[in-house]
Symmetry: C2
Subunit: 239 residues, 2 copies
């Protein structure tokens, strides 16, 4: 398997370059990549933006929403890229259109997959560790399950701060660690909180952390900080 899952938050030049390098590495030898824009409301403009972003890459994007038959487009895809946006919207549409199994099968059989932010959430057993707002109700929270753990993208440790003028204000809402602990009151699957700008390469057995740090949460264990270059098995145990 050849899977790349990104946290998102690539708001700096350095992070954008790493993202492009990692995507090109994952899609090596692929000329056309099927782009899935369902995490956004406006599929055409999302495809245009994604095309601009990847214009320097050695592959072209085609939008699944432009295909005559979406299932055929998946079956014929050389590579699949699921962009970020709203995970509830993405997962609702994938289930409504009956595409979840088809994408899972393709990726398990070797078709390279890149997911960023919501595209990482949907690669997990469920989308339950998303940060997004539930603006629509999906029929199921199940994702592709092409990795055996959960990802919390855009992860950051500690509390939220925000700025009013020059004043830094402390926010009392739940930290990510607290939210993930709530997840673990109801679910046993381990969770990796990917710092913004970080990526996981997954080959079906081992994950390699690239570009930044992450925090690992397993039921009954204290959280574990890992850094760029860490190798993790499917239970998120460092190797």
């Amino acid at each position: 398997m050849k899977v790349l899952l990104g946290s998102g938050g690539i708001g700096t030049e350095e992070r954008r370059k790493l993202c492009m390098d990692e995507m090109s590495r994952t899609f090596e030898g692929v000329s056309k990549v099927l782009f899935i824009p369902y995490a956004s409301n406006d599929h055409d403009s999302y495809l245009e933006g994604a095309k601009r972003f990847t214009s320097g890459a050695p592959f072209d994007l085609v939008g699944i929403h432009d295909a005559e038959d979406e299932l055929d487009a998946i079956k014929e895809a050389e590579g699949i890229y699921v962009g970020g946006g709203n995970s509830f919207l993405l997962v609702r549409d994938l289930h409504e259109k009956g595409l979840v199994e088809a994408i899972r099968d393709k990726v398990l059989h070797g078709t390279p997959y890149v997911g960023i932010s919501a595209g990482s959430n949907v690669a997990c057993p469920t989308m339950m560790t998303t940060n997004d707002m539930p603006v629509v109700l999906p029929s199921s929270f199940h994702g592709f399950g092409i990795v055996p753990f959960q990802i919390n993208p855009h992860y950051h440790p500690g509390s939220i701060l925000w700025k009013e003028g020059d004043e830094i204000i402390h926010h009392f809402g739940e930290t990510r660690a607290r939210r993930i602990a709530e997840f673990h009151q109801h679910n046993q699957v381990p969770v990796i909180g990917l710092f913004e700008g970080s990526f996981l390469r997954w080959d079906g057995a081992l994950a390699t952390l690239v570009g930044g740090a992450a925090e690992i949460f397993s039921v009954g264990d204290t959280p574990l900080r890992v850094e760029h270059g860490a190798m993790l098995d499917g239970s998120l145990t460092p190797r």
Copy 2:
């Protein structure tokens, strides 16, 4: 109707005092308040904490989870208090137990209601403007609908900042305003983003903002900042 909806985030002495004052005002003349702890996993310890918090108030709390029959407990309640925690958990349990209609009817017929954080989300037409993580899948996102607008609790404007050692780091995840705009791509109901420490008193026709600021989002309008003392109608138009 006598409804008090709080943002939560009452992490300062001043905010806790205001919260107690507003709760006592809403529950004036009520000796026993029915406490609904379903937003938390541990109902007993949540009730104990809520009792400690309200120990100086002129009313006592009884937990709905200790009642022989929950529907009877609601029918007999003099006041209802729904505490914060995880909105998905809260809404799942309320629907599973068949309590949504009963609470709506009681409150529409005059029983005072206090909701904080998740307890504010569930008072709205839907829980779709929560910030919580979807750790369980409810059968429906519908709430009590005892107010005709949506609340985003723990609201803050602008981006998230976080701290690593002494360094303040800029987070690139979606702002609340962006998330609410996503909600408005799929739903028409106006949204009020309640800053932490702020409360809305609702009498069935007019809302009064108490304790802090809020931001109002209506489809097609630019967001509107309102301050302590603002009066709003059911469409969140200032009066």
